[in-house]
Amino acid sequence: MGIPIEQILIQTVNGVVTGMILALVASGLTLIFGIMDVVNFAHGELFMLGAYVGVIILAATGDFWIALVAATLVIALLGATIYLTTLRPLLGRDPLYTILATFGISLVLQNYALWQFGPVARKIEEPFTGQFTLFYLAYPWYRVVIALLSAAIIGALWLFLKFGTWGIWIRATMQDRVMAQAMGIPVPWVLTAVFAIGAGMAAASGVLFGPLVGVNHAMGVDWVLKAFIVVVVGGMGNLAGSIAAAIFISLLEAYASLWVSPAQAVIVSFIVLILTLLFRPTGLFAPTPK
């Protein structure tokens, strides 16, 4: 059974698009884990709430870009609040408890969304329609924009981490939290900021992804799972690794859906995870451990 080359190329584009969004979600997750050893189960809900805030602000202002920025800021603030109230008290303890706490938070947020917005999916309109011809398909411009914008956001994050005082503070705290404190770095604020940044990025992904699917209270659940797989395959705490892993896995899944249904295509990510755990548990894309 020969698959026409056009289909493969189209799936490549699709894979990259989904991969970039996944990378955006996973970056926040891996940063949070890298700096405070917290497995944030509620990350998918931050994604979902970002999408909802986007819906609301879009309805109020009619401007997609304002909605995107506003959702990012609002959810970043929510993230900071969640961290300060729930996670900070638990930092010194057994990591099991932070996992449970974030699990509880995800329960609360999901049901809050269900209560406030109801079970019917909402729609975010794309900021512009319009398609171009990709081989025999009319391919929406918007999808390409998503990929570019995600790349831009991740690029901005990288620049922020590389230069700038806060970037150095974050990287130092990730490597040695105790010594960072001894150097006068305000570690409690750094941790709050990282959680907020992670939350904001998840929210941005939610708004960007919104037009592709419906926005509903359960949309975060699948993403959090996939994001976890990406984070483990990429190497926990390894930003570049999780981006590479996100694209890699999304591409594989896109190709797989040429043969099987999308619901079954997810098995690909599971297989990649298992292989990674068997042969390179620190991460497929992580530098080889010393």
């Binding site: 005082t165 490597q175 001894a182």
Partner: protein
């Protein structure tokens, strides 16, 4: 300055602190003082609580009893990052430089503070590169690629970026080649000239005797002996008694 000089308030005063590690009682009531610009040595065998004392001063652990005072103010329960800003620099055992950050970035962790002008930052950077030309050569290299001796220098330089009033040095010569020991001595002299006080924890007795003005000897979580270095240089029987060297 002689012990018991009450007219001048000490820079750092540790007053009868007790610390625990789980159920283990580590410090049983340690008291000591460091005056402005002084070099004070802390000698003792392994595991007696020397590092723990430094950590307590740095705010990395908090004593369950007793007080730590800095310039007369109680800092016992303040978090470490506040203390670093107040003027306490810390150079831990095994250095703990940020391996994935470059030399410059390592220095910047101490340099990037409130209220320090860009000009001042450049000044400080130039000064420290002047003291440590090896670091200047490697300024863009990752900290982890430096040799042991270079990492030790970086750790001290990094602490100096805080413009501290006192630097807590935990076993700086450990694991270093003998010629590096002379380097460390030179650095302590530099600090002394800059009027930065030094609390030096060491196993290297000769170095400590040479550079310190006063020496405390700790054993089993308590200060057992306290004397001027000048006395101990002449009569080191006490040192042999406690350190068995």
């Amino acid at each position: 300055m002689s012990p018991g000089d009450a007219a001048v308030q000490p820079l750092v005063k540790v007053d009868d602190i007790h610390t625990y590690y789980g159920k283990s009682h580590i410090l049983h009531g340690v008291s000591l003082e460091v005056g402005k610009g002084e070099v004070v040595g802390l000698l003792g065998r392994n595991g007696v609580g020397k590092s723990t004392t430094l950590k307590a001063i740095m705010g990395l652990i908090h004593p369950s009893q007793g007080k730590v005072l800095f310039e007369g103010q109680s800092i016992t329960h303040l978090p470490a990052h506040r203390l670093a800003r107040l003027g306490i620099g810390y150079v831990p055992e095994d250095r703990r430089i940020f391996r994935l950050l470059s030399v410059t970035e390592n220095l910047r962790t101490g340099l990037d503070r409130h209220g320090v002008s860009k000009a001042r930052k450049t000044e400080l950077l130039d000064k420290v590169y002047g003291y440590f030309p090896v670091l200047a050569e490697r300024r863009n290299q990752a900290g982890g690629t430096l040799s042991g001796g270079e990492q030790q220098m970086l750790a001290i330089a990094r602490a100096m970026m805080l413009e501290p009033k006192i630097i807590l040095l935990d076993e700086p010569t450990e694991g270093l080649m003998p010629r590096m020991v002379a380097e460390i001595q030179r650095i302590i002299d530099v600090l002394n000239r800059e009027e930065v006080a030094v609390l030096l924890v060491e196993q290297n007795v000769p170095l400590t005797l040479e550079t310190s003005q006063r020496i405390y000897i700790i054993e089993k979580g308590l200060v057992r002996h306290h004397a001027m270095a000048s006395e101990l240089r002449v009569n080191d029987a006490v040192i042999h008694q406690y350190l068995g060297v």
